[in-house]
Symmetry: C2
Subunit: 442 residues, 2 copies
Amino acid sequence: MEFLRKEFGERFIEDGVTARLYVRDASFMEFSESIAGVVFPVDEEEVVKLVRWAARNKVPLFPQGSATSLSGNASATAKGVVVSFEKMDKVEVDPVDGVAVVGPGVRLEELNVELARYGLFFPVDPGSVKSATVGGAIANGAGGMRGAKYGTMKDWVLGLRVVTGRGDLLRVGCRTYKCRNGYDLVRLFVGSEGTLGLVTEAILKLAPVPESAVAVLAYYDDLETLVEDVVRVRAGRLWPLFAEFLDAPTSAVVGLESRNALFLGVDVNGGAEERALRRLESLVRGEVAQRALDWGNAMKLLEPRRRLFYGQISTAQRDGGVLVIEDVAVPISKLPEAVRGLKKLAERHGLPLLLGGHIGDGNLHPATWYRRGEGPGRVEKFLRDMAELVVKLNGTVSAEHGIGVLKKDLIKMELGEEALNYMRELKRVFDPYNILNPGKIL
Amino acid sequence: MEFLRKEFGERFIEDGVTARLYVRDASFMEFSESIAGVVFPVDEEEVVKLVRWAARNKVPLFPQGSATSLSGNASATAKGVVVSFEKMDKVEVDPVDGVAVVGPGVRLEELNVELARYGLFFPVDPGSVKSATVGGAIANGAGGMRGAKYGTMKDWVLGLRVVTGRGDLLRVGCRTYKCRNGYDLVRLFVGSEGTLGLVTEAILKLAPVPESAVAVLAYYDDLETLVEDVVRVRAGRLWPLFAEFLDAPTSAVVGLESRNALFLGVDVNGGAEERALRRLESLVRGEVAQRALDWGNAMKLLEPRRRLFYGQISTAQRDGGVLVIEDVAVPISKLPEAVRGLKKLAERHGLPLLLGGHIGDGNLHPATWYRRGEGPGRVEKFLRDMAELVVKLNGTVSAEHGIGVLKKDLIKMELGEEALNYMRELKRVFDPYNILNPGKIL
């Protein structure tokens, strides 16, 4: 650690109490009792030096943004060094090129405040958008509310500067929207959870803020009609900006009526609001309880949905429980079957269940909890059954939260050993000493 | 070859005259005098058997769709076997899930005909869209006219079934829009030009056909204003569906006035056309010569731009020349400088130059030619200078045509040896015997 003391001075924290704050992430689980310290690099050169030192000395490095991961992606798993990127927070917006060049420590929300000056925005909108950093969102391949229309991080990162586990600085991708310079390494790093390289700079693609939007909040007695309506809207050539749902008990938790709720928004041209809302209402067969006719009100209409996470946490806490939030996706046609199946499984395991998610892209976030005294055993069995159900329905056990530590067993059920073996070989190419976020994904 | 005769029967062609038709692609270059034959698999099982046989016997396999590559990606480079995917042309559309599951041999145009029944489309629109196949578009990471808004193939492939050079069948990605099941191997295969694996099935993401569109064709005396206007439109919160340009001599070649021409289209909601066109005209400072107020007419307005390739070919042929079409991109802010620089370089080398491209994403297709008797020497020098200019301007030597055989030197100038070495190691992971499309990219 002498090297870190000398090289980083006050930007290396060894004090156990402070360092302990960096051990775990929002998954609330602890995988290592302690770490050797936290280091706060300020530039790329320092990151290169750090990784080369770690490679020589076989010291595990745990990259961290704001540690909002729910799968343990940002937790330390051994007595290594946490690398906090909070000081690398450069933002350069180029409205002509339509890109932002940013440091990994920039928060998505801060970026969007800056972009608003140019009529631009960065569309990826995870639940943690207020605190999540660009580096964390890249590592995690973050998704969120606008996934059905705008996709996820993989669709918005054009280029990266990244330090591999061998200490090589690679510049991959382009500053231009189109880029075909060899293998697409950008997208190999996006979603790799910091296990292949540490991102020191990202070139992000930007979008113009839509001129306007319309939205409805509608209640449904049966889920099939709710799902069908999302499909009807798309077939009616309106492409939902968001299509979010909460089941009846979850709607009640966030302050709505205790019925299945659909939040459906469409971005439109200025002046086209009234006609678009009429079309939307003609396609939606639920009971429309709220309407929005501009961008601001459409975002406001969505607010109860944004309270889902807090609603889930507080409900679990009131019940003296430890919350476990899952993140699965199934093809949209299988959503009703998935919801019915999940409810049946929760019942069979005697577990509570709150259900909501991004219905426009088939992404569900089932939440359950266990009492502290009882331990997670029953929940773990439920999760394995859930994974089995989801894989059977042609879905995935991880839509946007990543694998981290917590879902390593589940991903095996989905992918099988052969695909994982190729991933292990890729890991060896970029990180032969296994120093970058070890214990994650594989 | 006994294995191929036995296994594929009449679907293995050894006859030299017929086989010769499959040696080269639309780059018009020949890198091998002959091949051992062409094989036409009909299903995945046959592809697996073929690759395992090739791996055991170290026989090079050259995958081919409709061979529209302009960089030699689809040409044979040795006396191996061309694998034509034309018989694997399954199309299954699921409008509820918003995906199509297709064989590699399906043509993009055919796919869109099928999708139109559901109000959906596949937005990637390369110049070769009428003949290009899904497999070829994936291998090549195809782009095209709608890149500035809809991106390229990498943004529209959700999942793949693919046979690696070891003969392993991998299922990568998902059928859902969000997918975080480990490393993003889908996007490693997209744009890898068939050098890492042979795609046997693809799950494609679909978009609703926009309700309507407006467009203008405007002429400009200076290029700076033309480029600025594209940026003004985006800053005005209209996101161009297409933004295409032709320089003055090229405009004349496709039948327009001999002035810089800008084709600018924006998709809009039904009913919003007139207001959107007024806004568009208020932002565009060139001389508006044509207007379109619906989707059909907007596509029609773009037609002269679609004649670019044929205009370039016939102009070169009239001049007794062999056409060379390039494919570079620079950040949009650097477009005027790039255009000026390219014109200067062409002049210095005494070469003709026709310039057009996708200005919305900074992608230029400079075309030049050499006389048959003269040989390509002068053009090659021009291309190296072009690459130097583009790299200096923070651009890329390959925006959407890929590397193939022809741009291997240029990509070295852009990426350097270190990044290429990582790519070589990735190649070894997936194709240790170097049997998949050898001689391409690396």
